[in-house]
Symmetry: C2
Subunit: 210 residues, 2 copies
DNA sequence: TGGATTTATTAAACTAGTTTAATAAAGAAT
DNA sequence: ATTCTTTATTAAACTAGTTTAATAAATCCA
């Protein structure tokens, strides 16, 4: 059955090509032997998520760690029915609801695809296998967590020391594509204000350039 | 010289007793063999810091990682001459200016002892030796960074979703001793408001209990 | 394509903070 | 103990946001 053979062959190629992003990401942090890299990659499963799909909702457990190949996932809680956005995960981000993942308790957050999204998923037990198997990959885990930590320290500093207007401008500069991908009221929430407040800021800024 | 002998003996005891806090902290994250633990501990140096001393000032490089045995260190930037407190490090905290430490660039932050403080210090090259030497200690590094990351995610969520008054009350509940150890205007800064603003909140709350 | 729904803007009244400045209280140093 | 300096409170005017509600614009989808 030559048809079957070709199909399998193509499937293998697709898998290798697809995981290139993930490999590059890992190698940007540490040197990893080809054997260790292949050991890790075997556990990752590709998932295609349609826009509007929830990877996680309040009350659910989560034992998966994700990597965004393509697309955008919003991470938020809901207070009095109003979404409070913690982060937007886009290409190259690792993510999960880390608190629920680590504590193994039900989450109180949402993970929702903002557009058709492709992610690689790996389970907690497989992550542990990977880290047990390779000291270098454990180091990658430490360094990527360190980087995420620093990002948050800087974010805290920005929230405290910049005005909402300044943070809006900065977000436009650093992640301009977000404004095409995500409704404005979620960006308002991410910046820590109401849709009305963000609209005022936008008007103020546009008038400035008249 | 029996006097000398006794002195040395006591010195050894003191060192072992002193590092107990650090060992306990590490063992709360991972199992470590006695040999690996001793390998790590040999690199730590105790430092006694007088109140008001700066461990770090803007423009300086930092290649030390610290652990607070006793005391309190504030971590802040200065904008227009006004301190902007990022964190207060008290007993059991690991700290450094992680950004400057990792990037090996001059810091733009202060690390200042708020009271007479005892810390254990280890250099970056020694940290790297420790992690190279032991996979388990590398894991400790990953897990402690992970915990710090989660704390910051929760802090971001609080800053965004709680009022200043709510965050003031929460700080009183979670870290009551801070109010004895640190001047109020620095706590105001930590909470993201002015001394005047914090004073108003305190008055509002005290009136509430009349 | 038209109708329904979601999203963004505007207005108006309000509020929790700000800034500046003066005063009071507390702490440190000789 | 007295002075000097730092820290905390209060008042008053102001501001950048809020809430609610109405309207306009954009998007979805059958």
């Amino acid at each position: 059955m030559p048809g079957t053979k070709i199909f399998r062959f193509l499937a293998v190629i697709v898998t290798i090509v697809d995981l290139r992003d993930l490999q590059d990401k890992i190698r940007s942090f540490v040197k990893v032997s080809e054997a260790d890299m292949q050991f890790a990659l075997q556990f990752y499963k590709r998932k295609d998520i349609k826009k509007g799909t929830f990877l996680l909702q309040p009350g659910q457990y989560i034992d998966q760690f994700y990597f965004v190949k393509e697309g955008c996932v919003s991470y938020y809680t809901e207070d009095d029915g109003i979404p409070q956005v913690i982060e937007f995960f886009t290409e190259g981000y690792f993510f999960t609801d880390l608190y629920a993942y680590i504590q193994e308790v039900p989450s109180n957050t949402y993970l929702e695809a903002m557009e058709d999204t492709v992610i690689y998923a790996v389970s907690k037990t497989d992550v542990e296998q990977i880290f047990d198997h390779s000291h270098q990959l454990e180091r990658f885990g430490r360094l990527s967590m360190q980087k995420a930590f620093i990002n948050n320290v800087q974010r805290i500093h920005q929230i405290k020391n910049l005005s909402n207007q300044e943070r809006y401008i900065q977000l436009q500069e650093k992640r301009p594509s977000l404004f095409q991908r995500v409704p404005q009221y979620l960006i308002a929430s991410y910046l820590g204000l109401t849709p009305v407040g963000l609209s005022k800021i936008r008007r103020r800024l546009s008038k400035h350039y008249d």
